[in-house]
Amino acid sequence: MIVYWNIFIAFFLPGILGYGGGPASIPLIQHEVVERYEWMSVGEFSEVLAIGNALPGPIATKMAAYIGYETGGVFGAAVALFATIAPSLILMLLLMGLLYAYRQSPKVKRLTTYVRPIIAVLLGILTFQFLESALEGAGAVQTIILLVGSYLLMEKWKVHPAFVIILSIVYGILFLGS
Protein backbone atom coordinates (compact mmCIF):
# COMPACT_ATOMS: atom_id res chain seq x y z
CA MET A 1 0.00 0.00 0.00
CA ILE A 2 2.79 2.37 0.96
CA VAL A 3 4.30 2.00 -2.50
CA TYR A 4 1.13 3.35 -4.13
CA TRP A 5 1.16 6.31 -1.73
CA ASN A 6 4.79 6.98 -2.65
CA ILE A 7 3.97 6.75 -6.36
CA PHE A 8 1.12 9.18 -5.84
CA ILE A 9 3.36 11.70 -4.07
CA ALA A 10 6.19 11.26 -6.58
CA PHE A 11 3.89 12.32 -9.43
CA PHE A 12 1.48 14.60 -7.58
CA LEU A 13 4.24 17.07 -6.64
CA PRO A 14 5.62 17.47 -10.20
CA GLY A 15 2.06 17.71 -11.53
CA ILE A 16 1.07 20.46 -9.13
CA LEU A 17 4.37 22.39 -9.14
CA GLY A 18 5.57 22.22 -12.74
CA TYR A 19 4.79 25.46 -14.54
CA GLY A 20 5.20 25.36 -18.30
CA GLY A 21 3.51 22.09 -19.22
CA GLY A 22 4.65 18.50 -18.91
CA PRO A 23 8.30 19.00 -19.92
CA ALA A 24 8.70 21.47 -17.04
CA SER A 25 7.91 18.72 -14.57
CA ILE A 26 10.61 16.37 -15.88
CA PRO A 27 13.28 17.58 -13.42
CA LEU A 28 10.73 17.45 -10.60
CA ILE A 29 9.84 13.88 -11.52
CA GLN A 30 13.55 13.07 -11.61
CA HIS A 31 13.99 14.58 -8.16
CA GLU A 32 11.34 12.29 -6.70
CA VAL A 33 12.07 9.15 -8.70
CA VAL A 34 15.87 9.18 -8.72
CA GLU A 35 16.90 11.18 -5.67
CA ARG A 36 14.13 10.78 -3.15
CA TYR A 37 12.69 7.32 -3.72
CA GLU A 38 15.68 5.90 -5.61
CA TRP A 39 13.53 3.80 -7.93
CA MET A 40 16.02 4.25 -10.77
CA SER A 41 19.44 5.70 -11.63
CA VAL A 42 20.01 8.87 -13.66
CA GLY A 43 21.00 6.64 -16.60
CA GLU A 44 17.80 4.62 -16.44
CA PHE A 45 15.77 7.79 -16.06
CA SER A 46 17.40 9.30 -19.15
CA GLU A 47 16.55 6.17 -21.08
CA VAL A 48 12.90 6.48 -20.08
CA LEU A 49 12.99 10.10 -21.19
CA ALA A 50 14.65 9.22 -24.50
CA ILE A 51 12.27 6.40 -25.37
CA GLY A 52 9.42 8.64 -24.27
CA ASN A 53 10.60 11.36 -26.63
CA ALA A 54 10.83 8.88 -29.48
CA LEU A 55 7.12 8.13 -29.08
CA PRO A 56 4.34 10.61 -29.80
CA GLY A 57 2.07 12.17 -27.19
CA PRO A 58 2.57 14.10 -23.95
CA ILE A 59 5.84 13.28 -22.20
CA ALA A 60 5.04 13.61 -18.47
CA THR A 61 2.22 11.10 -18.73
CA LYS A 62 4.31 8.58 -20.65
CA MET A 63 6.97 8.77 -17.96
CA ALA A 64 4.37 8.48 -15.21
CA ALA A 65 2.79 5.46 -16.86
CA TYR A 66 6.05 3.61 -17.29
CA ILE A 67 7.67 4.48 -13.95
CA GLY A 68 4.40 3.78 -12.14
CA TYR A 69 4.17 0.43 -13.90
CA GLU A 70 7.78 -0.48 -13.09
CA THR A 71 7.29 0.39 -9.45
CA GLY A 72 3.75 -0.81 -8.79
CA GLY A 73 2.38 -2.76 -11.75
CA VAL A 74 -0.76 -1.81 -13.64
CA PHE A 75 -2.33 -0.18 -10.59
CA GLY A 76 0.91 1.73 -10.01
CA ALA A 77 0.70 3.07 -13.55
CA ALA A 78 -2.90 4.14 -12.97
CA VAL A 79 -1.99 5.90 -9.71
CA ALA A 80 0.95 7.71 -11.34
CA LEU A 81 -1.20 8.85 -14.26
CA PHE A 82 -3.98 10.00 -11.99
CA ALA A 83 -1.54 11.93 -9.78
CA THR A 84 0.01 13.61 -12.82
CA ILE A 85 -3.19 14.60 -14.59
CA ALA A 86 -6.05 14.92 -12.13
CA PRO A 87 -4.94 17.66 -9.70
CA SER A 88 -4.16 20.29 -12.31
CA LEU A 89 -7.18 19.33 -14.43
CA ILE A 90 -9.54 19.52 -11.45
CA LEU A 91 -8.01 22.89 -10.53
CA MET A 92 -8.65 24.07 -14.07
CA LEU A 93 -12.27 22.91 -14.06
CA LEU A 94 -12.94 24.46 -10.67
CA LEU A 95 -11.03 27.70 -11.14
CA MET A 96 -11.85 28.45 -14.77
CA GLY A 97 -14.52 31.00 -13.89
CA LEU A 98 -12.39 32.65 -11.23
CA LEU A 99 -9.29 32.71 -13.41
CA TYR A 100 -11.26 34.14 -16.27
CA ALA A 101 -12.47 36.99 -14.10
CA TYR A 102 -8.94 37.72 -12.91
CA ARG A 103 -7.12 37.00 -16.13
CA GLN A 104 -5.80 40.57 -16.33
CA SER A 105 -4.63 40.52 -12.74
CA PRO A 106 -0.86 40.84 -12.36
CA LYS A 107 -1.00 38.26 -9.55
CA VAL A 108 -2.20 35.57 -11.94
CA LYS A 109 0.33 36.55 -14.59
CA ARG A 110 3.14 36.65 -12.04
CA LEU A 111 2.60 33.00 -11.08
CA THR A 112 4.18 31.71 -14.27
CA THR A 113 6.70 34.54 -14.47
CA TYR A 114 8.08 33.85 -10.99
CA VAL A 115 8.23 30.08 -11.20
CA ARG A 116 9.65 29.81 -14.73
CA PRO A 117 13.27 30.78 -13.89
CA ILE A 118 13.35 28.15 -11.15
CA ILE A 119 12.08 25.55 -13.59
CA ALA A 120 14.95 26.67 -15.86
CA VAL A 121 17.37 26.08 -12.97
CA LEU A 122 15.95 22.60 -12.38
CA LEU A 123 16.14 21.78 -16.09
CA GLY A 124 19.74 23.03 -16.11
CA ILE A 125 20.72 20.89 -13.14
CA LEU A 126 19.17 17.85 -14.82
CA THR A 127 21.01 18.65 -18.07
CA PHE A 128 24.25 18.68 -16.10
CA GLN A 129 23.46 15.34 -14.44
CA PHE A 130 22.71 13.80 -17.81
CA LEU A 131 26.00 15.14 -19.12
CA GLU A 132 27.89 13.58 -16.19
CA SER A 133 26.27 10.18 -16.77
CA ALA A 134 26.93 10.47 -20.48
CA LEU A 135 30.63 11.08 -19.88
CA GLU A 136 30.74 8.14 -17.51
CA GLY A 137 28.91 5.82 -19.89
CA ALA A 138 30.26 6.69 -23.32
CA GLY A 139 33.53 8.48 -22.54
CA ALA A 140 34.48 12.04 -23.44
CA VAL A 141 35.20 11.56 -27.16
CA GLN A 142 32.00 9.66 -27.97
CA THR A 143 29.94 11.99 -25.83
CA ILE A 144 31.24 15.05 -27.67
CA ILE A 145 30.59 13.41 -31.06
CA LEU A 146 27.02 12.59 -30.03
CA LEU A 147 26.40 15.97 -28.40
CA VAL A 148 27.55 17.96 -31.41
CA GLY A 149 25.99 15.56 -33.92
CA SER A 150 22.58 15.47 -32.29
CA TYR A 151 22.58 19.22 -31.69
CA LEU A 152 23.29 19.91 -35.36
CA LEU A 153 20.74 17.35 -36.54
CA MET A 154 17.93 18.60 -34.31
CA GLU A 155 18.55 22.33 -34.07
CA LYS A 156 20.32 23.22 -37.29
CA TRP A 157 18.97 20.73 -39.80
CA LYS A 158 15.64 20.29 -38.01
CA VAL A 159 15.67 16.52 -38.21
CA HIS A 160 12.77 15.04 -36.26
CA PRO A 161 13.87 14.23 -32.65
CA ALA A 162 12.38 10.75 -32.95
CA PHE A 163 14.77 9.98 -35.82
CA VAL A 164 17.72 11.42 -33.91
CA ILE A 165 16.93 9.19 -30.94
CA ILE A 166 16.58 6.13 -33.16
CA LEU A 167 19.92 7.00 -34.82
CA SER A 168 21.59 7.35 -31.43
CA ILE A 169 20.14 4.01 -30.33
CA VAL A 170 21.59 2.31 -33.40
CA TYR A 171 24.90 4.12 -32.89
CA GLY A 172 24.96 3.05 -29.25
CA ILE A 173 24.23 -0.59 -30.07
CA LEU A 174 26.96 -0.66 -32.73
CA PHE A 175 29.74 1.27 -30.99
CA LEU A 176 28.99 1.67 -27.30
CA GLY A 177 27.63 -1.68 -26.20
CA SER A 178 30.25 -2.92 -23.81
Binding site: E47, P58, T61, V108
Partner: protein, 182 residues
Protein backbone atom coordinates in the same frame (compact mmCIF):
# COMPACT_ATOMS: atom_id res chain seq x y z
CA UNK B 1 -20.18 13.30 -29.33
CA UNK B 2 -18.11 11.06 -27.05
CA UNK B 3 -16.74 9.26 -30.07
CA UNK B 4 -15.73 12.55 -31.68
CA UNK B 5 -14.07 13.73 -28.45
CA UNK B 6 -12.14 10.48 -28.38
CA UNK B 7 -11.08 10.73 -32.03
CA UNK B 8 -10.00 14.37 -31.73
CA UNK B 9 -7.69 13.77 -28.79
CA UNK B 10 -6.56 10.35 -29.94
CA UNK B 11 -5.22 11.94 -33.11
CA UNK B 12 -3.48 14.68 -31.12
CA UNK B 13 -1.86 12.05 -28.89
CA UNK B 14 -0.67 9.87 -31.72
CA UNK B 15 0.62 12.66 -33.97
CA UNK B 16 2.22 15.03 -31.49
CA UNK B 17 5.96 14.83 -31.00
CA UNK B 18 8.02 16.71 -28.46
CA UNK B 19 5.68 16.47 -25.50
CA UNK B 20 2.36 18.11 -24.73
CA UNK B 21 3.20 21.79 -25.33
CA UNK B 22 4.39 20.88 -28.83
CA UNK B 23 0.99 19.34 -29.59
CA UNK B 24 -1.04 22.47 -28.82
CA UNK B 25 -1.30 23.41 -32.53
CA UNK B 26 -2.76 19.94 -33.15
CA UNK B 27 -5.39 20.50 -30.47
CA UNK B 28 -6.19 23.83 -32.10
CA UNK B 29 -6.57 22.12 -35.45
CA UNK B 30 -9.05 19.54 -34.11
CA UNK B 31 -11.02 21.76 -31.78
CA UNK B 32 -11.19 25.04 -33.71
CA UNK B 33 -10.72 24.09 -37.35
CA UNK B 34 -12.04 20.56 -37.67
CA UNK B 35 -14.89 20.23 -35.18
CA UNK B 36 -15.49 23.96 -34.61
CA UNK B 37 -16.20 23.40 -30.91
CA UNK B 38 -14.77 26.81 -30.05
CA UNK B 39 -13.58 29.98 -31.74
CA UNK B 40 -9.98 31.03 -32.10
CA UNK B 41 -10.44 33.52 -29.30
CA UNK B 42 -12.05 31.08 -26.89
CA UNK B 43 -9.26 28.63 -27.54
CA UNK B 44 -6.68 31.33 -26.87
CA UNK B 45 -8.33 32.14 -23.54
CA UNK B 46 -8.50 28.51 -22.44
CA UNK B 47 -4.85 28.02 -23.38
CA UNK B 48 -3.69 31.16 -21.58
CA UNK B 49 -5.58 30.27 -18.42
CA UNK B 50 -4.38 26.68 -18.60
CA UNK B 51 -0.85 28.03 -18.65
CA UNK B 52 -1.36 29.99 -15.45
CA UNK B 53 -1.93 26.66 -13.72
CA UNK B 54 0.79 24.09 -13.09
CA UNK B 55 0.97 20.60 -14.55
CA UNK B 56 0.88 19.13 -18.04
CA UNK B 57 -0.95 21.48 -20.41
CA UNK B 58 -2.32 19.22 -23.10
CA UNK B 59 -4.15 16.94 -20.64
CA UNK B 60 -5.69 20.03 -19.07
CA UNK B 61 -6.92 21.09 -22.51
CA UNK B 62 -8.24 17.61 -23.31
CA UNK B 63 -9.99 17.38 -19.94
CA UNK B 64 -11.44 20.87 -20.05
CA UNK B 65 -12.64 20.75 -23.64
CA UNK B 66 -13.92 17.20 -23.12
CA UNK B 67 -15.87 18.44 -20.11
CA UNK B 68 -17.34 21.40 -21.99
CA UNK B 69 -18.49 19.17 -24.83
CA UNK B 70 -19.42 15.95 -23.05
CA UNK B 71 -19.61 16.51 -19.29
CA UNK B 72 -17.61 14.50 -16.78
CA UNK B 73 -17.55 11.49 -19.07
CA UNK B 74 -16.24 13.73 -21.84
CA UNK B 75 -13.42 14.92 -19.61
CA UNK B 76 -12.34 11.38 -18.74
CA UNK B 77 -12.76 10.39 -22.37
CA UNK B 78 -10.59 13.24 -23.66
CA UNK B 79 -7.83 12.53 -21.16
CA UNK B 80 -7.80 8.79 -21.83
CA UNK B 81 -7.76 9.38 -25.59
CA UNK B 82 -4.71 11.59 -25.41
CA UNK B 83 -2.78 9.72 -22.73
CA UNK B 84 -3.81 6.09 -22.96
CA UNK B 85 -2.46 4.89 -26.31
CA UNK B 86 1.07 6.25 -25.88
CA UNK B 87 1.21 5.22 -22.22
CA UNK B 88 0.44 1.63 -23.22
CA UNK B 89 2.95 1.83 -26.09
CA UNK B 90 5.62 3.05 -23.69
CA UNK B 91 5.09 0.23 -21.20
CA UNK B 92 5.00 -2.35 -23.99
CA UNK B 93 8.25 -1.07 -25.51
CA UNK B 94 10.05 -1.32 -22.19
CA UNK B 95 8.60 -4.76 -21.55
CA UNK B 96 10.25 -5.90 -24.79
CA UNK B 97 13.54 -4.25 -23.83
CA UNK B 98 13.47 -5.86 -20.38
CA UNK B 99 13.84 -9.29 -21.98
CA UNK B 100 17.32 -8.29 -23.06
CA UNK B 101 18.26 -6.46 -19.87
CA UNK B 102 21.67 -8.09 -19.48
CA UNK B 103 22.73 -7.97 -23.11
CA UNK B 104 25.65 -5.64 -23.82
CA UNK B 105 23.79 -3.86 -26.60
CA UNK B 106 21.10 -2.65 -24.22
CA UNK B 107 23.87 -0.89 -22.34
CA UNK B 108 24.85 0.60 -25.67
CA UNK B 109 21.37 2.09 -26.02
CA UNK B 110 21.77 4.00 -22.76
CA UNK B 111 25.23 5.20 -23.73
CA UNK B 112 24.08 6.34 -27.16
CA UNK B 113 20.93 8.02 -25.96
CA UNK B 114 22.30 9.92 -22.95
CA UNK B 115 24.13 12.63 -24.91
CA UNK B 116 21.06 13.18 -27.08
CA UNK B 117 18.85 13.58 -24.04
CA UNK B 118 21.44 15.98 -22.64
CA UNK B 119 21.08 18.12 -25.75
CA UNK B 120 17.28 17.99 -25.56
CA UNK B 121 17.34 19.03 -21.91
CA UNK B 122 19.85 21.78 -22.66
CA UNK B 123 17.67 23.18 -25.43
CA UNK B 124 14.62 23.03 -23.19
CA UNK B 125 16.54 24.80 -20.41
CA UNK B 126 17.56 27.53 -22.83
CA UNK B 127 13.98 28.03 -24.04
CA UNK B 128 12.81 28.49 -20.44
CA UNK B 129 15.59 31.01 -19.79
CA UNK B 130 14.68 32.94 -22.93
CA UNK B 131 10.99 33.03 -22.04
CA UNK B 132 11.91 34.25 -18.57
CA UNK B 133 14.09 37.06 -19.84
CA UNK B 134 11.20 38.33 -21.93
CA UNK B 135 9.17 38.85 -18.76
CA UNK B 136 11.85 39.76 -16.27
CA UNK B 137 14.94 40.94 -18.15
CA UNK B 138 18.41 39.41 -17.95
CA UNK B 139 19.48 40.91 -14.63
CA UNK B 140 16.55 39.56 -12.65
CA UNK B 141 16.67 36.20 -14.42
CA UNK B 142 20.37 35.85 -13.57
CA UNK B 143 19.56 36.73 -9.98
CA UNK B 144 16.79 34.10 -9.93
CA UNK B 145 19.13 31.51 -11.43
CA UNK B 146 21.97 32.11 -8.99
CA UNK B 147 19.55 32.22 -6.09
CA UNK B 148 17.86 29.03 -7.31
CA UNK B 149 21.12 27.16 -7.81
CA UNK B 150 22.31 28.17 -4.37
CA UNK B 151 19.16 27.06 -2.58
CA UNK B 152 18.46 23.89 -4.53
CA UNK B 153 21.92 22.63 -5.39
CA UNK B 154 24.08 23.90 -2.54
CA UNK B 155 21.64 24.06 0.37
CA UNK B 156 19.74 21.03 -0.92
CA UNK B 157 16.29 22.47 -0.35
CA UNK B 158 13.52 20.45 -2.02
CA UNK B 159 12.45 22.29 -5.21
CA UNK B 160 8.82 22.00 -4.10
CA UNK B 161 9.49 24.32 -1.18
CA UNK B 162 11.14 26.91 -3.42
CA UNK B 163 8.25 26.82 -5.89
CA UNK B 164 5.60 27.08 -3.19
CA UNK B 165 7.40 30.12 -1.73
CA UNK B 166 7.52 31.75 -5.17
CA UNK B 167 3.81 31.08 -5.73
CA UNK B 168 3.11 32.70 -2.37
CA UNK B 169 5.29 35.68 -3.31
CA UNK B 170 3.47 36.09 -6.62
CA UNK B 171 0.07 36.08 -4.93
CA UNK B 172 0.93 38.12 -1.85
CA UNK B 173 2.96 40.90 -3.39
CA UNK B 174 1.07 44.14 -3.28
CA UNK B 175 0.16 45.48 -6.66
CA UNK B 176 0.94 49.06 -7.41
CA UNK B 177 -2.12 51.04 -8.41
CA UNK B 178 -1.17 51.35 -12.05
CA UNK B 179 -0.77 47.57 -12.55
CA UNK B 180 -3.84 46.57 -10.59
CA UNK B 181 -6.76 46.03 -12.90
CA UNK B 182 -8.66 42.86 -12.20
Amino acid sequence: MQWRIFLAFFRVGMLGYGGGPASIPLVHKEVVEHYKWMTDEEFGDVLALGNTLPGPIVTKLAGYIGYKKGGALGAVNGVIAIVGPTAVLMIALFAVLANFQDAAWVNGITNGVLPVVTVMMGVLTWSFIQKSTKDLGWVRVLFFIIFGLLIISVLNVHPAIVIVLLIAAALLRNDKKKEGSA
